[in-house]
């Protein structure tokens, strides 16, 4: 017997019925394992679902919408009068973002902005031999797109960095490749709206998860497309902005559109169903998690209660020998908390192992080409909650039975024989 009087007795009582102690510990372990695994798995799936939208949509998209001016020039001169001139139509080239240099400079200095990626896009024809295919070519800032955005995740074959490393290169949608029977390394003729054409080398395929997009969209380096379009290097049609705090997107969008006279769309407006979905899924995860913990808690309480009832004789003798009620309470509190801590640690470990197992199960989905196995979150917060809970529950589960034990009258036990 080692340690203090009380810890020594607690240890001896646990060891004397080590099977029962083990079962109690396993009960705690099972609850904690399930909590950690389920919450990790559900959160992983939630992140995956969130990613379906978040990875495709910038937090704020800045563009200049092509539309008729609401105030025809003639109205500016002849206010409140009837006029018949309605012929001033928008210029196509006007869909470029005005003052883009100042705008990007402003965004890059903004404290909440994580990444700024200007894009330029143009209608094109993909031409190979006799077949011509209409589509859209987007010029992207490869370095920023791969560091701060998720474009690289969707490049299934080849590497996005080849767009800079290989001059005059292009990454095409898988749909285009399938239609035109293109392989990596093949040349592809691009015909611009002004009928000029340029030969680009295919360095990769991408899969967005939406077939119709894969049939029309391609990516090239932004300066390459600007030169093909014969426009200056500050000509951008879209600016993608990612924020450190996504919730601020509507505020920033409003600010930008007012300051720079551009259109700015925040992710919340672009995907209003997204927030609801996330909220609902989070609620589901937490309800499941809390249910698991409550069930585990009752299991712990039952086992400890039984343990103490079995030890009534021992408690009576200890009291007759001069151990006080508070000693008895401490003994059983030590037992229950040890079971809680032991079970909690084992549960976290098992939960981690089980999460790892789930993490190995293949999961292939066309919409997320980079995901190969089921997603699992290893958020340390879950582990912390689980451990704290195993500690607190076992403490309370042990507290009430041990209080009963401490108040027990030894005479009634001893004389009952």
């Amino acid at each position: 017997m080692k340690g203090g009087a009380v810890t020594g007795i607690a240890w001896a009582l646990m060891m004397a019925k080590w099977r029962q102690t083990l079962v109690a510990g396993l009960g705690v372990m099972f609850g904690i394992t399930m909590f950690v695994t389920m919450l990790g798995f559900m959160t992983g799936l939630n992140h995956l679902l969130d990613g379906l939208i978040l990875n495709r949509t910038p937090h704020v998209r800045i563009y200049h919408e092509l539309k008729a001016t609401p105030l025809q020039p003639v109205q500016k001169v002849l206010q409140d009068q009837q006029h018949f001139i309605r012929s001033i139509r928008p210029l196509v080239s006007k869909n470029k973002i005005r003052n883009s240099e100042a705008l990007t400079a402003y965004l890059k200095k903004h404290p909440n902005v994580a990444g700024v990626a200007p894009r330029v896009s143009s209608q094109v024809f993909y031409s190979l031999g006799t077949s011509n295919l209409g589509g859209t070519l987007q010029g992207v800032d490869v370095a920023t797109e791969s560091a701060k955005f998720h474009l690289a995740d969707y490049v299934t074959e080849g590497d996005i960095t080849n767009l800079i490393n290989v001059p005059n290169s292009i990454i095409i949608g898988k749909g285009i490749a399938d239609i035109m029977l293109l392989k990596i390394g093949d040349p592809l003729e691009i015909i611009m709206p002004d009928a000029s054409s340029k030969r680009l080398k295919v360095v990769g395929f991408f899969q967005s998860g939406i077939k119709d997009i894969d049939k029309v969209l391609s990516y090239t380096d932004v300066s390459n497309l600007q030169s093909m379009m014969d426009v200056p290097s500050d000509h951008f049609t879209e600016i993608y902005v990612n924020l450190k705090d996504m919730k601020q997107a509507p505020v920033l969008a409003g600010e930008i559109s007012k300051m720079f006279d551009v259109d700015a769309e925040d992710i919340q407006k672009a995907n209003s169903q997204f927030e609801t979905g996330t909220k609902v899924r989070t609620i589901i995860s937490y309800s499941v998690g809390i249910t698991l913990l409550i069930v585990a808690g009752f299991g712990i309480y039952n086992i400890l209660n039984m343990l103490i009832y079995e030890k009534m004789d021992t408690i009576a003798i200890l009291k007759a020998m001069g151990y006080s009620g508070s000693d008895v309470k401490r003994i059983f509190s030590i037992i229950s908390v040890s079971i809680g801590i032991g079970g909690g640690i084992a549960g976290m470990l098992m939960g981690f192992i089980l999460s790892n197992v789930i993490d190995q199960i293949p999961f292939n989905t066309a919409s997320l080409p980079t995901v190969k196995t089921y997603p699992v979150s290893y958020n340390p917060g879950f582990y912390a909650i689980a451990f704290l809970f195993s500690f607190v529950t076992t403490f309370f589960a042990g507290y009430f039975p041990s209080r009963k034990a401490s108040q027990m009258d030894p005479v009634s036990i001893i004389r009952g024989k």
């Binding site: 017997m1 009087a5 020594g8 007795i9 001896a12 009582l13 060891m15 004397a16 004789d313 021992t314 009576a316 003798i317 200890l318 009291k319 007759a320 020998m321 001069g322 151990y323 006080s324 009620g325 508070s326 000693d327 009258d409 030894p410 005479v411 001893i414 004389r415 024989k417």
Partner: protein, 228 residues
């Protein structure tokens, strides 16, 4: 003469409220002198065990005054009573009540560990010494349930002695033993009383056993009828 009285009860009465206000003890007064070997005898249900548990501080629901080693036991907290029990009273029950979770030696050590007066290794030596005195030292590292009835009772006596209590209180210590073992236990008690001047209070219904003690307190229906 009061200072030599280890244990003294003055007009102790007790009523069992839950069994129709049955009065089990009527104004019981008795005492045990230092080094005295006293037995309480009486028929089953005469209240002798009840008196014993009151005297041993485990039952606190009574009227009257009890002094142990000159201290009044009334009005003390359960914590204080536990301390007194640990330090001043050694217990021997009819059943040995050894804890099977611990070895024989550890069982003997437990009250001393609670007292905390000596370091662990010294307690161990003391416990071994008591076991040697009671001729069960060879069983020290066994589990209590490997011992015979007589051996268990001797270990229980060793446990009662470990804190050098002011008084040993025993409830039918030979009630569960055969003739031979009863004799051994009785001889241990007389030796403790004679050689070590240990005060002893033993409840028994064994007239033969009682007749060999220093003084017999006879109880009938919750009253002390004679103190020889």
């Amino acid at each position: 003469m009061r200072n030599t009285r280890i244990l003294e009860a003055n007009s102790v009465s007790k009523v069992f409220a839950d069994s129709g206000d049955l009065q089990v003890l009527h104004e019981v007064s008795m005492h045990v002198e230092q080094g005295e070997f006293v037995s309480i005898v009486g028929k089953s249900g005469c209240g002798k065990s009840t008196l014993l548990y009151i005297l041993s501080t485990m039952d606190t629901n009574y009227s009257g005054d009890i002094f142990l080693d000159g201290q009044l036991l009334k009005g003390r907290t359960p914590e204080e009573l536990a301390r007194i029990r640990n330090e001043k009273i050694g217990f021997v029950f009819q059943f040995h009540y050894l804890l099977n979770e611990f070895s024989v030696l550890e069982n003997v050590m437990l009250p001393a560990i609670k007292l905390g007066k000596y370091p662990r290794h010294q307690i161990r030596e003391m416990a071994l010494e008591k076991l040697r005195m009671l001729d069960v030292m060879s069983e020290a590292n066994k589990n209590p349930n490997q011992l015979s009835g007589g051996q268990k009772q001797r270990v229980a006596i060793a446990r009662a002695l470990i804190n050098s209590p002011k008084i040993i209180i025993a409830d039918e210590p030979t009630g569960n033993l055969d003739q031979v073992n009863s004799e051994i236990v009785f001889n241990i008690f007389t030796e403790l009383s004679g050689v070590f001047k240990q005060s002893l209070l033993v409840v028994t219904h064994d007239k033969e056993f009682a007749s060999r003690t220093d003084r017999i307190i006879e109880m009938v229906d919750g009253r002390v009828v004679s103190q020889v």
